[in-house]
Symmetry: C2
Subunit: 385 residues, 2 copies
């Protein structure tokens, strides 16, 4: 059986410490229900289960968010899978729909971070990374340093990702940050973890995103899930030039493309995990969207910019839209669904038919990433069952 | 398709602040693998996915626990559903097996609480309960007060649950507490929240439990999942005599019995959510295991004791075995699987063929329980597909 996304919604993204997590969720759920024509959850297409992605939410965060929509008499499953929590929830929801367990479910991604973090997220003190003081920016900085050393990327190419994604976000009214920056401004912004400067790091964010997933398409606007795969990483072999997470993303992508019967060349638009600029570049290559060693050039020459051949992160990505961990994956889904529907306004990728979402959660326990999810979505022009 | 539990394991339960959560998990996983004949996860029956229940675990707690068993290259889904987290993870695992997604998966329940809590668990300050100072013992005390007022239970019957479950735990070497108490000792132990005394409240616990769930039975010892249901509560109607959670448990049980094609009279042994003595009594009635108003008498007269017609909580239950939130549901499953296999030693329920597990998570947001899971298990003598 197939699964379709029939409605998507998001809150504003940004630091909103005085807005409760439930209020963030309500904004996203309300928009998703209206979008799916499911304003009344007790109406013709009731929600039969809810899958929630949240990392730092207090126990019961899902129930608090859902009772405002009377979404309480159904199975509710809250999933924690680091930065991939939202898309892990999506994966479980899609599999449940495909298995015929439900006709219609809600996926919710939710995170309030501004009340918890005043600086970077630091792995647990029991982790190798935490013990050695490696906060998340440092882990990505090691990736960047390795690729710089190998000649696989330049400082200017790294900065170009930030320029591009901040420019994309100018057309996204829900984005946390946006703006027209020069390469110099990016490179001269405060150094966070060499070589990554402030404008190359995703911010601390609060936000929510929601998607209604259905077993049947009820309109041309419903977007089919062409394939989805999830994996956790194995031990990371530091001796290879496959930087942290690279192999995990590659393997997960292979599984997702195989499930969809597609190849990277079929992708028209992608939302990928640019928690830091280097992340977008390693990911673009690991996904097969750019040949080895060319992702940096793609960013610098506009191939992956709006107007280019394969726009990556038209929403502004994690770097600019923001990165509320549990919400991020579902926000990526909302963007890709909006793109392949042709409803993305000033940031629309022309003729986008097939879109890709990739989320990568990691940073603990010395493994090659905590979890990676890759999902492919197609509009009604895409042939399928 | 059916799902079978082919192996179970637990750690010791108790306050173990100097044992890491990963070490607790390893004890449970190792025992479950050995029990399932799956010592080598890369062997003949590799684990294809892991579902983890945890409430208070730090982000990434699953990955930290699993890498010690090289269980890292597969989908890992961590589920938070209050006290029902472990059985919610089981439900998702069973459904994934039934849908044909996997041949063999691991369910892990894990919680370390002694490092976090020095007193009772208090709902969030944003909840009605938290705002009014209602900690978990108080919520259950309100249930007990209502039933005492209605004449549906007596103080001595409440205390009898504690006497019974502590006595059961004498035969469970993994239990946190056990002992031979008199009704008077229970009633005269320190008052926690009137009418619930110390010996009527489950303790703060650390522990883990694991279960290997398979699509096919490979031995007579494999225990079939006859039916499982999960629900979240709707708004709790305080005006009825259906105390908090009662209706949710009843509705979930109806769904589980229907899925299994069974009735309460078919149950030979049960592990239910006795976080407080009143909890076992309301639950026993809500499940249909005792007629309305008779659960107290069942406990007082030995019907639900080892040696009685329908032993409830032969492991000692949450009251005595302990209650590490995310682990509890999986520990209940381990007990019931051991019972219907006839391998429970001194606490064996004679001729147990069909067992029931019930977990109830609640305490937030003024609803009739956060989540309830009811599951039914049968040994190879039980007919089925």
């Amino acid at each position: 059986m197939s699964a379709y996304v029939s409605g998507v919604g998001t809150s504003f993204f940004g630091k909103q410490p005085n807005t409760s997590p439930a209020e963030l969720a309500w904004a996203a759920i309300g928009e998703a229900f209206a979008d799916a024509g499911t304003d009344d959850p007790a109406g013709g297409h009731p929600i039969e289960a809810v899958y929630v992605g949240s990392v730092f939410g207090e126990p019961g965060v899902a129930m608090r968010a859902l009772q405002g929509y009377a979404l309480t008499g159904v199975p509710i499953v809250t999933v924690e899978n680091a930065c991939a929590s939202g898309t892990s929830a999506l994966n479980e929801a899609v599999r449940a729909i495909e298995a015929g367990r439900y006709e219609r479910v809600l996926v919710l991604g939710l995170e309030q971070m501004s009340t918890l973090f005043k600086g970077p997220i630091i792995p647990q003190q029991t982790d190798t990374e935490g013990r050695t003081g490696l906060a998340m920016p440092s882990l990505y900085a090691m990736e960047a340093s390795r690729w710089l050393h190998e000649g696989r990327v330049t400082l200017e190419q790294l900065a170009a990702v930030s320029v591009k994604n901040h420019r994309h976000a100018v057309h996204n009214p829900r984005a946390q940050y946006s703006g027209e920056y020069t390469l110099e401004q990016v490179l001269e912004s405060p150094m966070i973890s060499d070589p990554l400067t402030l404008l190359q790091c995703s911010p601390i964010s609060d936000g929510a995103a929601a998607a209604v997933v259905s077993a049947t398409a009820s309109s041309e606007r419903d977007v089919r899930v062409l394939g989805v795969a999830q994996q956790a990483g194995g031990p990371w072999d530091h001796r290879t030039t496959d930087v942290w997470g690279y192999r995990l993303i590659r393997d997960t992508a292979v599984a997702a493309f195989e499930a969809a019967g597609l190849a990277p060349a079929d992708v028209d638009v992608a939302e990928v995990h640019d928690a830091f600029t280097i992340g977008e570049l390693t990911t673009t290559e690991a996904l097969g969207l750019a040949p080895e060693g060319q992702a940096g050039e793609y960013a610098a020459t506009g191939v992956t910019a709006l107007g280019g051949r394969l726009p990556v992160n038209p929403s502004g990505g994690l770097l600019s839209r923001g990165h509320p961990l549990g919400a991020t994956g579902v926000a990526q889904v909302a963007e890709i669904v909006t793109q392949v529907r042709g409803e993305a306004g000033d940031r629309q990728v022309p003729d986008a038919r097939i879109g890709l979402v990739e989320t990568m959660g990691g940073g603990v326990a010395g493994v090659d990433g905590n979890a990676c999810v890759v999902a492919l979505f197609g509009n009604s022009e895409v042939e399928g069952d």
